[in-house]
Amino acid sequence: MSQVHTSSFTNVGRTRFWQRGFLASQSAYVLAALVVLIVVMSLLSPNFMTGGNISNITRNFSFIAIATLGITLVIITGGIDLSVGSTIALSATITSLTMNALNTAQFYPFPGSALAVALVAGLLAAAAVGLFNGLAIAKLKLSPFVTTLGTLSMVRGLVYVTTQGRGTFPAGPDKELFLAVTAGKLFDVVPVSFLYLVICAAVMWVALNHTAWGKHVFAIGSNENAGRLTGVNVDRVKIQVYVLCSVAAGINGIIISGWLGSAPANLATAYELTIIAAAVIGGANLAGGVGGAAGAIIGCVLIEVIRNGLVLARVDPYWQQTLVGAIIVAAVLVDRLRSSRNG
């Protein structure tokens, strides 16, 4: 895409392969750090590289990875969304409540219908949060941080209100189906949640790199004003991005609650910081204009590998939190390597 038209420029050399594209990005360097970490972890604990554990890790990071993809979009536009944790809980709760309500109402025209309605309800609830955020930020020009901090609190409050703080459990005729599509495993190995993640990431990659919309997302993050002046519908793109982010969080909420078989009211409390950390570690820049799907996933894997690895390495639990923090800082430190090499 950024093939340099060198023919006529005597002062332009060839860009070496490591100086461009993915290999020159923060994501690549963090990936390298991740590989090192995995090697260290497997040396520290013989159980790290077992099939069961890899499957656990895969499932665990899929839980937050789709939301991380969504928030990466928001971060690319220079925004932030602190309400993802609450949105995860909301969509899980609404899905579960809808399944219960349909069950009570004996609504079941055909197999899967209750589940379909419930999923739509859960995702619509999540989308509504995104729409609120997007409208407030794009139209009323409120600060994304404060707006989404407000929704963080509002949405969590609503979850408590609707369930009286108790949380809910999915139930009804489609419960087995619900568990299968959320917590099941493909060929008994690959968690389906991982499959969803791969699909979402692929779609996002194409959208960001090969559609006008993607360019607009980057343009807004790098100079919102320039976007506006060149006729980009900045407000619409921003609203879309916040809605997508909330829907992504909603998908994650449904997946988590399917796996848990429960939608506790405090589900995903404080996950927003982890999710944002994953996106930023993966190379998204909070100043806007930089980020990508691959990086988001790498960030999530890194955080989960640290968590899982420390437990497996039987590190004193009091020390774990300290180490997680230290390794997060170390992971972004490798990015300095890149900047100093690529000038």
């Binding site: 949380g167 429960s262 506790p264 009211a265």
Partner: protein
Amino acid sequence: QDTYTFAVVPKAMNNPFFDLTRDGCEARAAELGNVTCLYIGPVEHEATTQAQIIEDLITQGVDGLAISVSDIAAATTVIDRATAAGIAVITFDSDAPDSTRTAYVGTDNKLFGVDLGKLLLQVAPDGGTYGMISGGAAAPNLALRVDGVREALAGSNWTEVPGSPTFSNDDIALAVQQMGDLKTANPDIKAIVPVGGWPMFAPDGWKNFVDQYKADVDSGALALVVADTLPQQLELLSEGYAHGLVGQRPYEMGVVSMDTLLSIVNGETVDEIIYTGNDVVTADNVAEFLK
């Protein structure tokens, strides 16, 4: 006849455990007629917020306070302020023994831990290695339970794995993940003892975990002894997904708290320590708890 407002302050309102206390308190208040039960606390577990809410309640002039103490020293300070303001104060679920509170209503947490340990010995007398899952590292009642389990198992064939207990911070999803982590890190672990019901609050997550080791669980080679007896836990137990539960009686705590506070404001003397007792549930007696 005078009417009274009694506030019940849980550690965290996002914990379903305290919902039962609230239910008990509200039911009892309705029966008594002249008592209003005001259930309010911090949404998440944090000592300062709890102390601030108690201050607000003092300002509001409630007649009695039942507090599940988040941090002993912090609560002691504020409880002393409440009693100085002439408010009847008791603690429930979690105590601040050196404060000026009149009574404690709740579980004997040390004994609760000992019961958990004894139940494990009963379920799997042969011993082996075991791990525990706790909630917040700062919670004194959980620390007592952990001590109780260790005490009951001292001298037996059970040894604790390193890295135990893990702290789930009351995060249900994390608690289930830690079940898996404990088993993966210690493939030959023989028992897991969560000292609170967190992982089982996610019934399918729990089932997912157990299903991976179903044979071991069925044969008793992996013993699962868990704290708390919420309905979904009892279901799981009756379906063979656990070996035993030790339950507190949060509903009772709500009821007894109201009674105790009413007695205090009426000038009667009450016992300083009122244990509400534990329920030990196994496959044998689960049916009677389920109904």
